[in-house]
Symmetry: C2
C-alpha cells in the first residue's frame, strides 16, 4: 500500500489525496452511521485523466477502488471497508459543468456536480432538469447515475437512466471511454451506457455525463385529493396519467403523524406542512401537473365521484406546504422511535392487494407496529416504513429487521415486484438480493461484471 500511495501523491498532488483521519472522516462514514468505512487515503482526482491514471496504478498494485459521489446513498454502496484492500475515490473535485446546449436540450456535467448545480444551470439556460429528490444539495451526477436515482417525478420524466444521453467512463484497465454523445437516437451497436447506469460503481468510474433537459413546467399545479381507498387513487391515476408529473399517496396515519410531529416550521429550514382537510380522509393523493390547467380535471373527478374532495394549491407557497406534508412523514416518524424501512415497488395495479397483505404481515409479525406505506404510487414505488409499537422497546423491535425485510420482500416478489425500487442493493441489501434473485439472472450479472471488470477492482462487496 505504501508504494502506491507515493505514486498517488505524486500523481494527484497534496490537494488530491487526504490521509489525516479527521479529514478522511466525512468520506469514510456511512452518513447514517450504520457502517464505519476505512481507507488508508481518500483520493480526490480533479480530471478524467487523473482518474484513469489512478485506475492504472491500482491495477498494477492489486488495489481496489470504491467510487463515491455525494455519499448520500442508502444502501452502503460508497463505503470502503478495511478488509477489502481498497481505496476510496471521491469524484467531488471533478465538478465542472462542461457545456450547456439549450437548443439540444442537453448539458454535460462532470460526475462531481451536485444535482442542485445541474438544476441551476438548466434554469439559467431557460430549461429544466427534471430529477428532483431530497438530497439534491449533496447528491452528485455520478452517484445519481450509478444508482439510477428515482425521485418524485419518475412518472412523467423517468428515472435518472432516462436523463442520460451519453457517458464518459474510466474502465477497469484504466482506459477512457469517450461516450459523451448528445443524441436521442443512436443504434450503432450495443448501448453501452446502459451497462454503467445503475451498476453502483461496480463496472467502471463514471466521470461525466451528457444529460437531457426539458422545458420548464408552463403551468405547475399542485393539489391534494382525498380518496376512500388505494383502488380509488388508482382510478384517479388512470384518468390523469398523461398529465401527471407526480402522484404520491399517503395514508391517514402518515398525515396525522406528519401534522402532529412536523418540525419544519420551527427550524425555519422548510415551510410548515399543511393538511388542507379537516375531515380525516383515509388516503390523500398529492398530484403535480406541469402543463395543463388542473382545475377542470379536478372538477370532472369530483363530478364523477372519483374522489372525495380536492384542494388545489393557490400559489407556489401553498404548493410547497403540500409537498412538505409528504416530506414530513419521514422526519415525523423519527419521533415515534425506531423504524424499519423498505424500498419496494410493485406493478401499479398490484398496489391495493400489496398494501392489504403488507398490513396483515406487519400486524401478525409485530403486533402494534405502525405501517407507514406511502410514496411514489404513480410508478409503483411504495416506501413501507414501520414504526415500533408504543409498548415495545427499540432493541426488541429492530431485532426483527431482517425477518421483517424478508417477509415484505417475499410479499413484493409475490406481487411481481422489486425488493429495491430506487435505492439500489449496495452492501446492506446484498444478502437479500442473493436470497431472492433468480440464479439465471445472477449468473448473467456475474458474466457482465466479469466481462467489464475481470479483476474485480471496482467496488468489491457491492452487489456481489
Amino acid at each position: 500500500m505504501q508504494a502506491i500511495l507515493t505514486h498517488l501523491t505524486h500523481l494527484l498532488g497534496e490537494a488530491g489525496i487526504v490521509r489525516a483521519a479527521a479529514d478522511k472522516a466525512p468520506y469514510l462514514r456511512e452518513w447514517r452511521g450504520r457502517l464505519e468505512g476505512d481507507s488508508t487515503a481518500v483520493l480526490l482526482p480533479k480530471s478524467t485523466a487523473e482518474v484513469a491514471a489512478v485506475v492504472r496504478l491500482c491495477v498494477q498494485h492489486g488495489i481496489c477502488l470504491v467510487p463515491q459521489g455525494g455519499n448520500t446513498g442508502l444502501v452502503g454502496g460508497s463505503v470502503a471497508l478495511k478488509q477489502q484492500n481498497s481505496l476510496l475515490l471521491s469524484l467531488k473535485r471533478l465538478n465542472r459543468l462542461r457545456a450547456v446546449d439549450a437548443a439540444n436540450f442537453s448539458l454535460v456535467a462532470e460526475a462531481g456536480c451536485v444535482l442542485a448545480a445541474v438544476q441551476q444551470a438548466a434554469a439559467e439556460a431557460g430549461r429544466f432538469f427534471p430529477l428532483q429528490l431530497g438530497s439534491q444539495g449533496s447528491a452528485t451526477v455520478g452517484g445519481l447515475i450509478a444508482t439510477n436515482a428515482g425521485g418524485t417525478m419518475t412518472l412523467r420524466y423517468g428515472n435518472m437512466r432516462a436523463q442520460v444521453l451519453g457517458l464518459e467512463v474510466v474502465l477497469a484497465d484504466g482506459s477512457i471511454w469517450h461516450g459523451l454523445r448528445g443524441l436521442r437516437k443512436n443504434n450503432s451497436g450495443y448501448d453501452l451506457k446502459q451497462c454503467f447506469i445503475g451498476s453502483e460503481g461496480t463496472l467502471g468510474i463514471i466521470t461525466a455525463a451528457c444529460l437531457t433537459l426539458v422545458n420548464p413546467p408552463r403551468h405547475p399545479r399542485t393539489a391534494i385529493l382525498a380518496c376512500a381507498s388505494p383502488q380509488q387513487a388508482l382510478a384517479v391515476l388512470g384518468v390523469l396519467h398523461a398529465d401527471l408529473a407526480a402522484f404520491e399517496l399517503m395514508p391517514q396515519l402518515a398525515i396525522q403523524t406528519a401534522t402532529t410531529h412536523s418540525t419544519g416550521h420551527s427550524t425555519g429550514h422548510s415551510p410548515s406542512c399543511r393538511n388542507p382537510f379537516t375531515t380525516p380522509y383515509p388516503w390523500l393523493a398529492l398530484v403535480e401537473t406541469h402543463n395543463i390547467a388542473l382545475e377542470p380535471a379536478l372538477a370532472t373527478l369530483l363530478e364523477k365521484n372519483l374522489i372525495l374532495d380536492a384542494v388545489l394549491a393557490e400559489d407556489s407557497v401553498e404548493a410547497a406546504q403540500f409537498w412538505q406534508l409528504r416530506e414530513a412523514i419521514v422526519a415525523a416518524q423519527k419521533q415515534l422511535g425506531a423504524s424499519l424501512k423498505h424500498d419496494i415497488a410493485v406493478p401499479v395495479s398490484a398496489i391495493p392487494a400489496f398494501l392489504d397483505a403488507a398490513a396483515r404481515v406487519v400486524e401478525e409479525t409485530i403486533p402494534g407496529a405502525r405501517l407507514y406505506a406511502f410514496g411514489h404510487v404513480g410508478d409503483g414505488n411504495i416506501h413501507c416504513n414501520i414504526s415500533q409499537p408504543v409498548a415495545m422497546c427499540a432493541a426488541a423491535f429492530t431485532a426483527q429487521r431482517e425477518a421483517m425485510a424478508m417477509l415484505l420482500h417475499d410479499l413484493a416478489l409475490q406481487h411481481g415486484g422489486s425488493i429495491s425500487a430506487e435505492h439500489g442493493i449496495g452492501r446492506f441489501k446484498r444478502e437479500e438480493f442473493h436470497r431472492t434473485v433468480a440464479p439465471v439472472e445472477l449468473a448473467m450479472m456475474r458474466q457482465v461484471k466479469q466481462s467489464l471488470d475481470p479483476k474485480g477492482i471496482f467496488n468489491p462487496g457491492v452487489l456481489f
Copy 2:
C-alpha cells in the same frame, strides 16, 4: 446438419419446420432483395420452451441461429447466410398476447406479435401504445426491441427501449431468463434487459416483453408550419418542445417531389398527400401534439414571427393528408431513379450546420445529385436520401454508394452524430461501423458479446 434436423422435426413438429424452397423463400429473402439468404430449414417454434430446446440442440450440434421477426429490417440483420452454418429461427408463431393490465399501463406480448396487434390491444383496453412506424402491420415486438426501433413519436415517448418494462429471453446456453417484470422502478442489480434491447439478435432470443402503455391522446392535433430555415424550425421546437409528439422537417424540394409524384391517391391505399400552402416556403415542419389546444401556440408563433405561416388540420382526415405528405417523400423519390440513403442523427442543435455541410458534400461529390434531407428533426434523426442527377445513369450513381456513405458518416461524426440513428448496423453497415467506432467502444461490445454468447451462436455476421 441432417442429425439436428431430425431432432428439430421431432421437437417442433411438421408445422414448426419449413424445408421446401418455396415455403422458405419469404423468410430467407431480404425484403428489398439486397441479399439472398439461405437456411437448410426455417424453424418456427410456437413456445418459449421450444425456442429454448432449439437453442440447446444448436449448441450441441455447433449450429448458429439467426432470429427473425417481421423481416422488415433495413440493415440485413435477419438474413441467414449459407457460409455461416446457421439456421433461421422465425418468432412468427410465438404471437400470443399474454396479458393486458390497464391499471398498470402495461401489456405482455410475445415476440411474434405484430406492432399493429399491440396497438389494437392497447386501444381495446382504453390505452395507447405510442410507437408508430411505417411497417406496423408486419414489424414484430421481438424485432422492434432487438433493433430498438424509433419512429415518429420518439420526441415525446422515446424509442422502443423506453417502452420495455421487462423481457423474457432465451440465453445462449438454452436457459430462459424470466425477466417479464411490469415495474417502472427496479434497482435490483444490473438492468439486464438493456443489454438485449438494440442488440440485433446477437446476445439472446427475445421471446416476450412487458411493454408500457399510456393514455390515448386527448386532443390530437396536427399542423404544418412554414419556416424560413432549419434554424427557425429549431426555434419553434424550442418553444413547443414539452407538448410535441412529433416534429418532422421537410425541405421544399421534398415537398415538390412528393406532391408531383405522389401515387397514394390513385392506388387507393392511402389518403392523397396535401401541401396546404401555395407559396413554396423553404422548409415545412409537420407538428403533432396530443394533449394541448394547439391553436393558441400557433397564434403566438405567428405573432412573434417565429414562423412564416401555419395550417392546422381541421380533422383527422386532413391530419392524415399532412402525414401523407411526409410519408410520400420516400415513395416519390423512387420515381426519380436510384437513391442513396443514410440514417443519420446529430444533436438537434447541430442540424443546421450539418444540413449545410451535407448539401456541400453531396454537390461536390456528385454534381447535380438531389439531396432530400428530412425526417425526425425533433430527435435529431435526419434521413439523408440522395436521388441521382437527371443526366447520370443509375449504375454510375450507385457506384458511389460506399464513398458517399463514408463522407456523410464522417460528417455526422464530426457533428457529434451517429451513422445509424434508428435502423441499426446489421450486416449492411458493419464495415462502416467498424471503420468509425472507437476501438475502446468496440472492445467493450466484444466483451459483452463474449460474456453473454461465448460460443457466438446468435446472429453471426451481425455487428461483428
